[in-house]
């Protein structure tokens, strides 16, 4: 059955479970759900007399990674490192300049692969700004029901399912279903956004700073809700955040980005316990400590990230790196193999740094 037919069938009986993951799983559990290879997006900066392209912001520059079925992949990095652009590229809300994307063995948007619309139905997204991501003129239950209706569900059936989903994310549908977004709090709005993302029974949810704008107490509630939903519905998460603590708590694996590139990727425990890349070390060291004995006196990292319009040559971190040597500005360190296909390669802890490449010529290089 084509995915659309399965979707229509799933909406007809309208129980929340089973998730269509089992129906749609093609490659088995070992095949990554989503693989991204060489993803690139440069935004033109226009200026001059006729709106010529005078420069390019290298927002995402050659990003490769894979998301395994059922895991949570955390993506961390400073503001402007390209995290959100990666998310929008994965949803194809932005058109990538280069790179291929494979969803469960099928190339996205290519002949013989899976269509973008069909992929979007299986991959949903929760945005950071809970307020602006809800239509101000639509009762929230209609917002949740919009996707299923667009895919051919009957209106009343979709609304009933939407109210079920609202209940599932902890909002009483009788009380909240007919409300407009401005009548809800930030946490309630984000719950509606989560319900909306789940309405199409996706296999994967991209959470782009989904809890960053919430109060700490509400954030914890929503995180617990996300964990419960993941368990019950068999979801896969990509969790984007700048909050290192939250990412560690929720993620199975973590990917660190700097200036549009992946600098380190690995299992969360290994990466937090023994960060390999100097940037990751600095990032982790910059976390505020609650323990006065472990208070940090010196700044772990100096300066601001360089301008992504004209990123440094070689390793992009060399301008701020304490271990920088001539080789770092001459040659970009490589990181291969983090996008699969083997299980061992997926789980490997890797960093794009000359320090971990014995053949790099860096004086302090050690075997990885």
């Amino acid at each position: 059955m084509p995915p659309r037919a399965i979707a229509a069938a799933a909406f007809r009986d309208l129980a929340l479970d089973p998730a269509p993951a089992a129906l749609l799983d093609r490659g088995g559990p070992a095949q990554p759900l989503l693989t991204v290879h060489g993803l690139r997006k440069h935004f033109p900066v226009r200026g001059g007399l006729f709106g010529r392209t005078t420069a390019r912001v290298r927002a995402v520059d050659g990003v490769s990674f894979a998301v395994r079925k059922g895991e949570t992949l955390g993506i961390v990095g400073e503001s402007g490192c390209g995290k959100s652009t990666v998310a929008r590229l994965m949803m194809r809300l932005l058109r990538p300049d280069a790179g291929e994307q494979i969803f469960d063995g099928e190339a996205v948007g290519e002949a013989g692969g899976i269509a973008v619309d069909a992929m979007r139905r299986q991959v949903q997204m929760v945005f950071q700004d809970s307020a602006s991501s809800l239509n101000p003129r639509m009762p929230v239950q209609n917002t949740v029901a919009f996707g299923p209706v667009a895919f051919g569900a009957r209106r009343d059936a979709a609304l009933a399912a939407a109210r079920d989903l609202l209940a599932r994310v902890g909002l009483d549908p009788v009380l909240f279903g007919g409300r407009y977004p401005h009548e809800l709090s930030g946490g309630q709005k984000q719950r509606v956004n989560i319900a909306r993302a789940l309405a199409l029974r996706p296999r994967m949810v991209i959470l782009d700073e989904a809890v960053s704008a919430l109060d700490k107490s509400v954030e914890a509630q929503v995180l617990n809700l996300l964990q419960a939903l993941k368990r019950d519905l068999g979801l896969t998460y990509v969790f984007i955040s700048h909050d290192l603590g939250v990412v560690r708590w929720i993620s199975d694996r973590v990917m660190v980005m700097y200036l549009g590139q992946v600098v380190e990727i690995g299992p969360a425990e290994a990466l937090y316990a023994a960060p390999k890349h100097p940037y990751t070390r600095a990032l982790l060291a910059s976390r505020p400590s609650l323990d006065p004995d472990r208070r940090r006196e010196e700044a772990p990292i100096g300066g601001d990230p360089p301008n992504p319009i004209d990123p440094p040559a070689g390793c992009r971190f060399h301008t701020r790196c304490p271990h920088a040597e001539p080789v770092c500005s001459a040659r970009a360190p490589a990181m291969a193999g983090c996008d699969g296909p083997g299980e061992a390669e997926l789980l490997a802890h890797r960093a794009a740094c000359h320090l971990h490449d014995p053949s790099s010529g860096h004086s302090a290089a050690v075997a990885a």
Binding site: L14, A15, L16, D17, R88, M91, L93, V116, D117, A118, M119, R120, R121, Q124, M125, F127, D129, S132, S133, L134, N135, P136, R137, M138, P139, T143, F146, G147, V149, A150, F151, A157, A160, A161, R163, D164, A167, R168, G170, P173, V174, G177, G178, R179, Y180, H182, N193, R196, A199, L200, D232
Partner: protein
């Protein structure tokens, strides 16, 4: 899934105070808005009176008389609003004149709202080359003063009521298109449009469900303010002999003809202007009230 079981989908959750529906809410808010109600009633009254002019008019609007020219309101107890410079009954002429005036004021705005608004939403939503093509074409129309443009088009096509209305429509399309484009561009960049696109829904549905409702407000307000401009422009065309031709009554034409009698009987001269003012003012008030009632955040 215990929460699901607690709320079976068949439960009568549609009951309750909040489930009035969108248009139910709008109607509810309008009922408690006296200004909109009063001006709405006035507007309906004007439209009905004009529509039933043959039944309501006490005299033939073309019946002239040398002896009873420019008589004040209440003359002989039969000429309720007096007579004009050719001795014709003002009330009858106002009732009949309103038919042409309202038609020329409202129909071009209505058509221009559909055409210009549609083009503007398309330009704003599509962006890129389509936006450039549509908006630069509109800029060409913008380069001419609106009166001049209306006169030129209507003159080229040979005058008359229908050609006048076509000319007015073409004059109103560019500004409405610009308003619609600006509003759509603003809405398009909000996250909820991206979220709707991310569901994989066809663009058509994203447009109708998430974009249109949020751009309709500014378009409607602007269109309603154009109705009074339309009435004035139409009378301008008539003055130049390009729209309505005398002796057919038209508020703008009457205003112009009575201009010369302003020192003799100022009240009579003011009557067509008062009619235009009341019509356009109630139009503005009603659309403003409608916009407020349609804003769910208020």
């Amino acid at each position: 899934m215990s929460a699901t079981a607690a709320h079976p989908p068949s439960a009568p959750v549609m009951a309750g105070p909040r489930q009035r529906g969108y248009w139910g809410n709008v109607a509810h808010r309008l009922r408690y808005d006296p200004v909109s109600l009063v001006f709405g009633a006035l507007l309906i009254l004007i439209v009905l009176a004009v529509a039933f002019a043959p039944l309501l008019a006490p005299f033939d609007p073309y019946q002239e008389s040398i002896v009873r020219r420019l008589k004040p309101p209440g003359y002989q107890g039969r000429y309720l609003l007096g007579t004009d410079e050719l001795g014709r009954d003002m009330l009858s002429r106002l009732l009949y004149g309103g038919r042409v005036t309202l038609l020329m004021g409202m129909l071009p705005v209505l058509v221009a709202t559909l055409v210009g608004g549609g083009l503007g939403v398309l330009a704003g939503f599509a962006g890129g080359l389509i936006n450039t093509l549509i908006m630069r074409t509109m800029d060409v129309f913008y380069a001419f003063p609106s009166v001049l443009l209306a006169v030129a088009i209507s003159g080229a096509m040979g005058g008359g009521i229908v050609n006048g209305m076509i000319a007015l429509t073409l004059v109103f399309v560019p500004p409405l298109c610009r308003i619609a484009e600006t509003a759509t561009t603003q809405v398009r960049n909000l996250d909820f449009v991206d979220a709707a696109r991310a569901t994989g829904a066809p663009l058509r549905l994203v447009l109708t469900h998430h974009v249109l409702g949020n751009v309709l407000g500014p378009i409607l307000i602007y269109a309603s303010s154009l109705v009074s401009v339309g009435i004035i422009l139409a009378s301008g065309l008539s003055f130049l002999g390009l729209g309505v031709k005398p002796p057919v009554p038209d508020w703008g034409l009457m205003l112009n003809a009575l201009r010369q009698a302003i020192y003799v009987e100022p009240l009579i001269c003011a009557l067509p202007g008062i009619a235009i003012l009341l019509t356009s003012m109630s139009m503005n008030m009603v659309s403003d009230g409608l916009r407020a009632a349609m804003d769910v955040r208020s």
